[in-house]
Every structure is written in structure tokens, then in C-alpha cells.
């Protein structure tokens, strides 16, 4: 069959296109059309020849099928050790087969590959930690997603998300004006309690350029307020860019390589335009991966780094606590069993495990912090990474996967889970909704705001009697 009207190989790059896709609730028609979508084998093979470089070909070639990756995968464990959930099998039977067959695969194969790429791997890269050959299946699945996206086999919400980036330079429909208006609204609502609270837009040469996840502006603006309050109390010289404020990348989850570059270029342009000393990104794991870790390569930056030093929110927070810019009232520290969700994207894949625990040492009364088992770089994915959270079509599979995180949390006995990552926060919220295990979950910002020692000059003046 030719291309569907909704499900096709063409990226969505107009506001009308996004609206039309959104109108197809849950992608009902989209997925129906996908069942008849042709595979352009010539294009697929040509793309592989141009982009599948020696590292990936070697990985596929040298896999010894030893099975060491099996137990590392939370989806393998959650699915009763189904051999079809072994990471090596999953990638060999999809990407490996496409290459063996030189792109000559059919619709049924691609539908299956889409399910494996988005519902059987969250690109958490845990298996790569245990592979004796250092084969990183998560990276290969990221690549496979790109091939599937090109052919039109991408989940409905991912196609929408990538389209949003193309149209709005953000994963949601937020203009520059909307973003600034929301940030200023949050300042306005909080300035009575925090006199002097302010946000400067497009300030040049600030110490910090702050970037966020679009959801904060669209659905959770309190996150913007908390960030402003913490920068304010810490006395930081900070700014937000009018353009290039979106750090997250659903384009990365979707496998839309062109939109990945487009999005990250927009943030790097802001850095070059405003010349801040550093960029600080919000409490988001994949946003950090997209903009700080992988982004420089998408943008073709030879240094492998963004234009200015770019750090995760927890790095800034730990530094502010360490240097005394932020001080915690010991009486307000957490005094209940609490655990920490390590984000794959900046703990396993970017080495911030000690930083996360340094923050814990300031905000939790000694004796109340309980590590998950396993933890740090060995921690399991929250169960919603890599876009899994946002794909309704695979919710059933996701609920099965969430059992591993549920059991890890239950085993700690903690009633509060600190999750300094939007994806992890959502997954933990969803597992609580699904399994009702009686926990609360939180980002760091709202916890810290409540336990700060506020210097007198930053407190509201008492009204004259």
C-alpha cells in the first residue's frame, strides 16, 4: 500500500500536521495504516550503508551469545526470563536481521521491530555494563529507532513529539512568548514570599543559562518557580534564553535524527548568542543525554562538547550546598525512610552517582536513607525510559516492566522516593497508580525549597501593625 495519510515516511513539520495527528485519538487510524505501510528496502539499505559504521557492525559481529546480558535487562527479568527478552537476541533479531537481509524486510517484520525497539528496550544501557565485549545494545537500539522512524514505523506519540520539535523547537506546543510569560507568571505568584525574585531573559554573559523540559512550562510550572527560588537564594547571576530553552528531546526517543540536530542546534545557538559561563539543565535525565552527552555529536561538534560547560541540575545543587550558597536547616531534613532513583542517563551513562549521594547527605537525617538494590550505575531503569512512558500503545508491556522498580522500592521499605529525573518521576507515579504500594515521590527542588535556611534579607518584610 502507498503511504497512509497519517502513518507514512514523511516527518511532521507543520502545526496543522501535528494537530491532524493529535486528532486521531490514541493513534487508532495511524496504527491501522501502519499495518499496510510498505518498506522502502532500497532506501533502508542505502541508509545502513551510509550510517552503520564499524563500531556497530563489529558489535553485531563479535557478540558471543554468552547470555551475560540477559539478567542485566529489567524487561527480561520482568517477563519471567523469556529468552526473547535477552538483549543480544533482541538486537540480533531486529537490526542484525535487517543488515543480513540488506534491508529486504517486510511490513510484519518492521511492526515487530517497532515493538522490540520501543517496548522491549528503554535504551538504559545497563546490558552494556555487563557485556564482556562492551557491546552496548542500548546504543544500537537508538540507531534501529532511526531506521524505523525513516520508514514510518514509529509509535504515534513519538511521531507527534518529533513533529513538535520541528515546529516549536520544543516537545510541546509552546512559543517563546508562552515560555517567557509562564516563567514571569511564576515569578509574580511567588514574589510576595520571595521578595526580589526575578528572571532575566536573554541576559548576556550570565554565570548560568538555565534550560528546562517543556513539560514544566506547559503542565508543571511550579518547577520553574522552584528553580528561580533556588537560584535567587543562592545569589546566582542567571538567565533564561528566549529561544533555545528546551533541553529535552522526544526526537531522540523517536529516532528522528534530523530533528535531534535541529533541536540541539537551537540550544547551542542560545549558548553562543548569550555566552553564559555555564548551562545548567533541569532535573531531567534524557534532556541531559540529548543536550550534553549525545547532542554535540548530532551537531557535528568536533570537541564532543556543547559550546559552554553544561551541567546537570544535581551538579549545580551539590555545588551550591557544598559551597554554602544554599544552606539546609537540619531540623527540616527528611526524617522518614527515603530512597533515591538513579537516572540511567546521568548516573550510569554520565557518572554522577557520587554527586547524587552528596546531596542526600545534606537533606536526609543520618540513618533514614536506604539505597535501592542494586543501585548507582547498576540501578535498573525506572521502567519508563526511552519514551516508554509516553507510548499508550505499549502501556500493557510497560506495566509488566514496572514490577522490577516496584519490587526494588518495596524492598527498601522507603515511603518516599527521590527521583531527580522527569521520566523516573513519571514512571514512579505510574507504578504507584498501578500497584498502590503507598509511596510518595518527589524531585529535589520542592524538597530543598522547604528546608532552606533563608537569609534575613531575602525574607518578606513583616507588615507594620
Amino acid at each position: 500500500m502507498p503511504e497512509g495519510s497519517l502513518c507514512n515516511k514523511k516527518p511532521v513539520d507543520t502545526a496543522e500536521g501535528v494537530t491532524t495527528l493529535l486528532a486521531d485519538k490514541s493513534g487508532k487510524t495511524y496504527y491501522e495504516e501502519m499495518k499496510s505501510l510498505d518498506v522502502d528496502s532500497d532506501l533502508l539499505w542505502k541508509t545502513i550503508q551510509n550510517t552503520c559504521k564499524s563500531r556497530m557492525r563489529t558489535w553485531l559481529e563479535i557478540c558471543a551469545h554468552c547470555g551475560m546480558c540477559a539478567d542485566s535487562c529489567f524487561l527480561y527479568l520482568a517477563n519471567k526470563k523469556d529468552p526473547k527478552q535477552v538483549p543480544a537476541y533482541k538486537i540480533q533479531s531486529t537490526l542484525g536481521e535487517i543488515i543480513k537481509k540488506k534491508g529486504k524486510v517486510d511490513n510484519a517484520f518492521m511492526l515487530h521491530a517497532m515493538e522490540v525497539a520501543w517496548a522491549q528496550c528503554t535504551c538504559c544501557n545497563r546490558c552494556g555494563t555487563y557485556c564482556p565485549h562492551g557491546i552496548d545494545t542500548g546504543i544500537m537500539f537508538g540507531y534501529l529507532r532511526g531506521l524505523l522512524y525513516q520508514q514510518g514505523f514509529t509509535p504515534w506519540e513519538m511521531k507527534i513529539g518529533a513533529g513538535m520539535h520541528r515546529v516549536y523547537n520544543a516537545q510541546m506546543d509552546i512559543s517563546s512568548e508562552d515560555y517567557i510569560d509562564t516563567f514571569e507568571w511564576m515569578i509574580e505568584e511567588n514574589e510576595d514570599e520571595w521578595p526580589g525574585l526575578a528572571v532575566e531573559v536573554d541576559k548576556k554573559n550570565a554565570d548560568i543559562m538555565y534550560t528546562v523540559n517543556a513539560r514544566e512550562a506547559k503542565h508543571y510550572p511550579e518547577d520553574l518557580a522552584e528553580a528561580a527560588i533556588l537560584f535567587h537564594v543562592a545569589g546566582e547571576n542567571w538567565t533564561i534564553p528566549a529561544r533555545g530553552w528546551e533541553q529535552s528531546s522526544l526526537a531522540m526517543f523517536a529516532g528522528d535524527w534530523a530533528a535531534c540536530k535541529m533541536q540541539v542546534d537551537c540550544v547551542y545557538d542560545a549558548m553562543e548568542r548569550l555566552e553564559p559561563k555555564r548551562m545548567v539543565g533541569t532535573e531531567c535525565g534524557h534532556a541531559h543525554r540529548a543536550t550534553v552527552v549525545e547532542g554535540p555529536y548530532w551537531a557535528g561538534r568536533k570537541s564532543g562538547r556543547p559550546p559552554v560547560e553544561s551541567i546537570h541540575y544535581i551538579e549545580w545543587l551539590a555545588e551550591a550546598l557544598r559551597t554554602g550558597k544554599l544552606k539546609i536547616d537540619p531540623a527540616k531534613r527528611i526524617k522518614e525512610p527515603v530512597t533515591l532513583q538513579d537516572s540511567c542517563n546521568y548516573v550510569r551513562n554520565h557518572g554522577l552517582k557520587k554527586i547524587a549521594r552528596e546531596i542526600i547527605s545534606y537533606i536526609v537525617e543520618p540513618g533514614y536513607f536506604i539505597e535501592m538494590c542494586p543501585n548507582k550505575e547498576h540501578n535498573f531503569c525506572c521502567g519508563g525510559g526511552g519514551g516508554f512512558n509516553g507510548i499508550g500503545y505499549f502501556r500493557k508491556q510497560r506495566n509488566v516492566g514496572l514490577k522490577i522498580k516496584r519490587d526494588q522500592i518495596i524492598a527498601t521499605g522507603a515511603k518516599l522516593v527521590i527521583a531527580p529525573c522527569h521520566n523516573c518521576w513519571d514512571a514512579i507515579r505510574d507504578l504507584e497508580e498501578e500497584f498502590d504500594i503507598g509511596i510518595k515521590w518527589s524531585f529535589l527542588k520542592p524538597l530543598i525549597v522547604k528546608m532552606l535556611i533563608v537569609p534575613d534579607h531575602l525574607k518578606p518584610k513583616e507588615e507594620d501593625e
Partner: protein
């Protein structure tokens, strides 16, 4: 698609429990979401928010930013959360019969 039955009415819902057909929004649906969200009593302010969400959705085919809700109702963010504790993007959209917002929500 899954269905749920409320007081003799059957609703098709998506995987996250949001109403699949906006046109089927009715009092029974509101009652159902109310109990799910643990809201004791619906006030005029709940209805104001629902109306704003629906008007915006009918015009734009997507849920509005929270900022829009606040501008049109004059409610502060804190108050919006008091009305819908699971948040404007989840509980309020669900009750108003809107689909689950896409992206990281």
C-alpha cells in the same frame, strides 16, 4: 480498546484511562473521574476549569498550558492544584474528557 462502565453507561477509554471519544463526555464521566481523583465535592471552580479546558480543546485540538487556565479563571497555580491534586495535565484533563496530553506528562 478498554471500556469502563459507569452507572449503566459504557465508555471507551485509552490505556491511561482517558476518555476516547470527547463527544461522550457527560455527568456520569465526571462522577467517575471525581471518585478516581479522590475529589469530595465539585465546586463552581472545578466547573470553571473544566469549561476553560473544553473551550480551548474544541478550538485548538490540544490541552492548554496551565498559564492559559490561570489567565482565564484568575486562579493561582496553588489553587488549581487544590482543585485537582493530580495536576491540571492529568486529573483536570481527564475529567474534562480531553485525551491524555502527549509527551513527558
Amino acid at each position: 480498546m478498554a471500556t469502563t462502565e459507569v452507572n449503566g453507561k459504557t465508555f471507551e477509554i485509552d490505556e491511561d484511562g482517558f476518555l476516547l471519544d470527547y463527544n461522550l463526555y457527560c455527568d456520569e464521566w465526571v462522577e467517575y473521574v471525581k471518585s478516581q481523583e479522590g475529589i469530595e465535592e465539585l465546586t463552581d471552580e472545578h466547573w470553571q476549569l473544566i469549561k476553560v479546558l473544553q473551550d480551548y480543546y474544541e478550538k485548538n485540538g490540544i490541552a492548554p498550558m496551565v498559564r492559559v487556565l490561570s489567565k482565564l479563571t484568575k486562579f493561582k497555580l496553588k489553587h488549581i492544584y487544590e482543585l485537582f491534586p493530580s495536576g491540571p495535565g492529568k486529573g483536570a484533563c481527564k475529567m474534562a474528557g480531553l485525551p491524555k496530553p502527549t509527551g513527558c506528562v
